[in-house]
Symmetry: C2
Subunit: 406 residues, 2 copies
């Protein structure tokens, strides 16, 4: 099978998709893009979604879940706004999400159940439906396959850069594209929090297979992210497959693994972009745990380290405080012998067999000064590994979050 | 029974105790107090201890646990240093802790197993035993019952003020005293992290009863604290009872509940001082969850809120972002109906039945501007309550922890 290769592009690069973004006045800043639409011209477009596991869910999550069920995994359009999460907004919020889908369906001459909605931004503040409803007809008219890059900007909140990844490969002689955009920044934790991700592809793939492949890709990417340990009310990952390429992804055939590899790469690339852009983050940190007794032990340790404010502030300050790393492993609940553990920053050993490795302080500072670094803990207990992406914890995180709402 | 009353005093206020502190050169700052000793003149002094549950434990914790076992809950002296945690220091670290106990035993003509040791400070850096061994004879000679307040200062690391509480009451006509000191600041979490607490009393009480009462007091005080979600290698709470008051605390008698009430009050007072002095903290926050289905649900929600960096940064910025509070409750794992929940800051309702309560923004800012505030979540689900103490999350936390080691 041909490999997947990164190419320049946007959400409308896969065949059959058009997109548009506008400034609807939801964000306070005048002229800021805050509403986007993505539509597929194929009536057979497959859709799959993964949503927050928080008990408190935003109105658009409720509506999108229901529409995916009612349409049996079909979808023709997405509408997403930033600047307001439409969460903790009660019945009026639910009505706004439903009206958004209805207005979009009307503008595109499709069914409301074929429209999925998503929101991101402040929680608990009513979302003014009139702002969205007024903008939808114009947004529908301006849908274009030319350049969907404004869509990636329209879903940003505290993100500092738009996140987009486009891959291309070939299946049975036909070009296939995978495109994804994401927003992240704060509130990103084990189960995909405060992140939105929208994926388009022209592969022909049934909704059930698409959902299985998406679930697995999310497990190894967005579910391996942690920025501040909070999980949100709005997390949504949606994938749409127009099927307009002539080649089909078939379960039980090598095309499935090939498509999984592409979606894995797409999601992991976007997940790393989210970690690199964690609120106030200056460094992308990959926490690797190797040699654990069980996968669950490896995962627990990696998450405990990646979530530790003490580890993350030490990385912000380029302080090789490996004791905090060992300490976090110690309270993770995993079983290991502290006197077997080695700790590395990139290739430099800070700790061997639970003790100071006698490293050079200047060399350690240099490794910790990199913009991307790998913090590895080798347990020498067994065969299991885990990998979690996170970022450093800086004063800017505090500044951003101390007055987010006001 | 007579009530417990707060009085001025120190660790040597209870009869039979003497104490001393010195600058042994472990801390970098010249002349900073960093080594303290507390001794009891009674050979029948009972002792009880509670220690970290981290898998990675400091050498002094290992030694103190063993000595408490070997002495069957008896103790004559404590030695504690700050400036170095003697954790992740291997066999040399263990030897240093043992030598500290032996040197103290020699200076006081007691057995090494009757000495308990504790350390706090940086992890993974060898603790120079010669600094401690050289200081011990002088420290033993300077033991005094006059003023033990320097001891509370000698155990400080990033604490900004010494933490001491002394209570007095009467049992069967005899005065009884309870005195406690603590150090806290960063790394304080569910299970008593990076905190040390030393308690003295002149009550006559057996080691087993003392341990039961101490365990219960710790459960409702230090285990209800969270500053940054990290748990440490060195947590230790030790209680010594000289028995020199003529009145005995007897299990199965009302004196037990009376003593429990005193120890509860002492530990809760110290726990609140620790939260108020969280690294970089400007505000003491009491998170109260009421009306939960079960105690475990109430506890989970209270801890999720108290640990949320997003909630804590919003409090730092006096931003009434109640959506984050509800969101944290939602991912706690507890079961509740979001549309029944009320959220209060002090007496001001921010959210009713899961929706914005229409509060006055200026009034909310004012409540959030207090130095002590209560954040209450009423679930309307059942009879269970929980209470957790924490603090706000400020830029100073980052500054303190970005370069702690260096």
């Amino acid at each position: 099978m041909q490999k997947w290769q990164a190419i320049d592009g946007h959400l409308a690069t896969p065949q059959g998709f058009r997109a548009a973004a506008t400034a609807a006045g939801i964000k306070k800043a005048a002229g800021a893009l805050d509403l986007a639409m993505v539509a597929s011209e194929s009536a057979r477009t497959s859709a799959a979604g993964m949503f927050t596991t928080n008990l408190v869910v935003a109105a658009p999550v409720e509506v999108s879940r229901r529409h995916l069920e009612e349409s049996h995994g079909r979808c023709r359009a997405l509408v997403v706004n930033s600047g307001n999460a439409n969460a903790c907004t009660g019945h009026p919020g639910l009505r706004t999400a439903e009206e958004t889908a209805r207005a979009t369906a009307k503008a595109l001459s499709i069914e409301p159940r074929d429209v999925l909605v998503a929101s991101t931004g402040v929680i608990g503040v009513p979302l003014k439906s009139e702002l969205i409803l007024k903008a939808i007809p114009g947004l529908a008219r301006s849908l274009s396959a030319e350049d969907a890059s404004p869509v990636a900007r329209a879903i940003m909140t505290t993100d500092t850069f738009p996140k987009c990844c486009v891959l291309r490969s070939e299946l049975k002689g036909h070009a296939i594209h995978l495109a994804g955009i994401a927003k992240g920044a704060g509130m990103i934790h084990p189960r995909m929090a405060t992140m939105l991700c929208f994926i388009t592809t022209d592969a022909a793939i049934g909704p059930r297979t698409l959902e299985q492949i998406l679930r697995s890709a999310v497990e190894g990417s967005f579910n391996c992210l942690t920025v501040d340990g909070d999980t949100s009310t709005n997390d949504t990952v949606l994938a749409l497959a127009s099927g307009l390429s002539s080649a089909a992804v078939v379960p039980g055939d090598e095309s499935r693994a090939w498509f999984q590899a592409g979606l894995d790469e797409l999601c992991q690339t976007l997940a790393r972009m989210i970690a690199r852009d964690g609120e106030g983050a200056k460094k992308l940190v990959t926490v690797e745990v190797t040699g654990a007794r069980t996968p669950s032990d490896a995962d627990r340790i990696a998450r405990a380290i990646a979530n530790s404010p003490l580890v993350k502030t030490a990385i912000a300050g380029s302080d090789p405080n490996w004791g905090r790393i060992l300490c976090a492993a110690g309270y993770s609940g995993a079983k290991f012998d502290p006197y077997k553990v080695d700790v590395y920053i990139n290739a430099l050993a800070l700790c061997r067999k639970g003790l100071d490795a006698g490293f050079d302080e200047a060399a350690a500072k240099k490794e910790l000064g990199q913009k991307e670094l790998i913090l590895r803990v080798e347990l020498h207990e067994g065969p299991a590994n885990a990998r979690i992406w996170t970022c450093d914890f800086t004063r800017d995180y505090i500044d951003i979050n101390a007055s987010y709402r006001t």
